[in-house]
């Protein structure tokens, strides 16, 4: 059995995660581009990579089924798991914002309670509680932009990268809640029981991320 397992999230972080693992010397391009396997062997026999759903990734790491993982800060904020967050890998940059329909943006300050549709119910709750504003949270799985257009919510709290999706749906940003990039996280026990092997992966990933994007790390 391989000594160290690195979990990678499918979805928007997958390509950059794999490229970083490639740059760190763990994967070959061929190994991840041409396969449907969920567990990939590495160039080093004591490391393997597994691919999990973004929402499940931290579960693997928290329970120690994976020793390390690459997760978006947005998911870390939302799930609040007991893992070590060690390296900002720099890629996957995006922001969590509150957005309102253009036509109703002026009401944003005064609405109370405010109805927010989101994939991030805990982040939303913390944000509005922190501001002392009553909030009604409508949890959705995706295409959150739809909700204000059909009267399901007043506004949304969601990730934006370019802002194009917001614009296409006649939404405007009214507040920034958090900034997110991909983070290297580690199971708290793996850091102790397999210290050397895990620390080696951390350092090589840190170096690979710094080489790809010197502004990170």
């Amino acid at each position: 059995m391989p000594l160290v397992t690195v979990a990678v999230a499918s979805g928007r972080l997958l390509d950059d995660s794999m490229r970083t693992l490639e740059a760190a010397g763990y994967l070959t391009a061929a190994a991840w581009r041409s396969t449907r396997r969920l567990i990939l062997p590495c160039r080093e026999p004591d490391v393997r990579v597994l691919i999990a759903k973004p929402g499940d990734l931290l579960t693997y790491v928290e329970h120690g089924a994976a020793d390390l993982g690459i997760a978006g800060k947005d998911v870390l904020l939302e799930q609040g798991r007991d893992v070590y967050e060690l390296v900002d890998l720099g890629f996957g940059a995006c922001r969590g914002v509150v957005a309102f329909p253009e036509a109703r943006a002026a009401e944003w300050e005064s609405l109370s309670p405010i109805r927010i549709a989101t994939k991030y119910p805990r982040v939303t709750e913390r944000h509005f509680w922190g501001q002392g504003r009553p909030v009604e949270i409508i949890e959705l799985r995706g295409t959150v932009e739809l909700a204000p257009q059909v009267g399901l919510a007043d506004g949304i709290l969601d990730l934006v990268m370019t802002g194009r999706t917001l614009a296409a749906n006649h939404l405007v940003e009214v507040a920034e809640v958090f900034r997110s990039t991909a983070r290297l996280v580690v199971n708290r026990m793996s850091l102790r029981t397999r210290a050397e092997a895990v620390q080696a992966v951390v350092e090589r990933m840190r170096a690979a991320a710094a080489a790809r994007d010197p502004s990170s790390v």
Binding site: Y84, L86, V186, R188, M189
Partner: protein, 426 residues
């Protein structure tokens, strides 16, 4: 699809234990308590329910959020204990007030966390632990860590070790940064969340010297034989240096205890700063992603109960110890002997059952009046090592391999051939 009835389900985070697992849990608990007793720690039992105020007094007001609460008849707020240290502190400062110190106490019981949700987290789980109250010496710290190593071995979990750190080191490092109060609070919170990326950002923003930021964020790597030497290079406050000296002395004492090999210095251990005041430690095994033991020194908790006792202790999570051990000692769900009897031989059968039970064997007696062959087949298939048909002064014994032999009841009663030699459940 059939409608899912609520009565068939358990509330989230609750578990049933079936016979095999229950037997293992009890055995693990018993072994750890025995181990503690051999070190002079006597078991006390406190109630599951306490006043909310009592628990909050020990755990801090924030802890109130994660308690299971209920309202008493008079409207008083009650809560289920989330751990055992606070109830023990209450007991020590009431019933045991004025007793000569130090006190060595042990406990075993279920604890409850109201707010834990998702990812298979339990809201009720069993803990076994101990507290050493009224001693602030390194000798006391050493005793409790050595006992933790012993308790882990007794738990049966494979390949355990203990990681030993100190909250004073981190606290000293943080104070050395001279952050403004808000920044210091934020840095502490981030450290507690193990968010080293965020910590680095806060330190940079607050204008902390780069070298110190570097030192703090290098923490997760500070472990193993070099940890203290490495840490001394980074430690630039008197507090941090004192802590490192203490840890070194402590490791020396632990080597004298003969447990040095099972304990590793690990300054990256982060447990609740507001609760712990000195050493902190965790026990773990390669098989498990969570620690199965946690503890440390908590010299401030007793202040809340009007008695400034220094104290140190730890607790073992029995469920995790079980998950990390290979099984085996559960004894199975089958009895050691299944007894059936022919018409008119009830008296002899019950006499045999009583006699075997006195030898600490588990015995079932046939109560459905089924034919012998059916009883014997069923018992052996369930894992019983043998079944006995009592016919009067004689009996038929069927062994696990299916062979039958005849025996005199008197021999069986004396624990003769085939009996008494069986595995005796511990």
């Amino acid at each position: 699809m059939a409608r899912r009835e609520r009565w068939q389900q358990l509330p989230p985070g609750m578990r049933d234990l079936l016979a095999d697992e229950s037997a293992r849990a009890r055995a693990v608990t018993g072994r750890i308590l025995s181990c503690m007793r051999r070190w002079g720690y006597r078991e006390v039992v406190t109630p599951t329910i306490e006043y909310f105020d009592t628990l909050v007094r020990g755990e801090g007001t924030e802890a109130g959020d994660r308690l299971f609460k209920l309202v008493d008849r008079g409207g008083e707020l009650l809560a289920l204990r989330p751990e055992m240290t606070t109830p023990v502190a209450r007991l020590v400062t009431t019933h045991l007030r004025g007793r000569p110190l130090p006190l060595r106490l042990a406990y075993a019981g279920q604890v409850f966390r109201g707010s834990e949700t998702g990812s298979g987290r339990l809201r009720e789980f069993p803990q076994v632990g101990c507290e050493l109250i009224g001693a602030d010496t390194l000798e006391a710290d050493a005793e409790i860590v050595a006992l933790a190593v012993d308790a882990l071995a007794a738990s049966g979990a494979a390949e355990c070790s203990v990681s030993l750190g100190h909250v004073g080191f981190l606290r000293g490092m943080l104070e050395g940064l001279g952050l403004p109060e808000e920044g210091a609070l934020e840095a502490r919170a981030l450290l507690y969340q193990k968010d080293f990326v965020g910590l680095r950002a806060v330190l940079d923003r607050a204008g902390a010297p780069a070298a110190r930021g570097e030192a703090l964020t290098a923490l997760p790597g500070l472990r193993g034989p070099q940890a203290i030497r490495e840490a001394r290079r980074l430690a630039d406050t008197a507090e941090s240096r004192r802590v490192l000296r203490d840890l070194e002395t402590l490791i020396g004492i632990l080597e004298t205890y003969g447990v040095g090999g099972g304990v590793k210095v690990d300054l990256s251990i982060i447990r609740d700063f507001d609760y712990y005041t000195g050493i902190v430690f965790e026990g773990h095994t390669a098989a498990l992603g969570f620690p199965l033991l946690g503890g440390g020194r908590y010299d401030r908790l007793f202040e809340g109960f009007g008695a400034p006792h220094a104290a140190t202790g730890f607790a073992v999570r029995v469920d995790r110890a079980l998950a990390a051990s290979a099984g085996g000692d559960g004894g199975g769900e089958a009895p050691d002997v299944a007894v059936a009897f022919a018409d008119g031989a009830r008296g002899e059968a019950l006499r045999l059952a009583r006699s075997l039970r006195q030898q600490d064997l588990s015995v079932t007696v046939e109560i459905l009046g089924r034919p012998w062959d059916e009883v014997a087949r069923g018992a052996l298939a369930a894992g019983a090592p043998r079944a006995v048909l009592v016919t009067g002064s004689r009996a038929v014994v069927r062994e696990a391999d299916g062979r039958e032999r005849s025996a005199a009841l008197a021999d069986l009663l004396r624990g003769g051939p085939g009996h008494g030699g069986g595995p005796c459940p511990s």
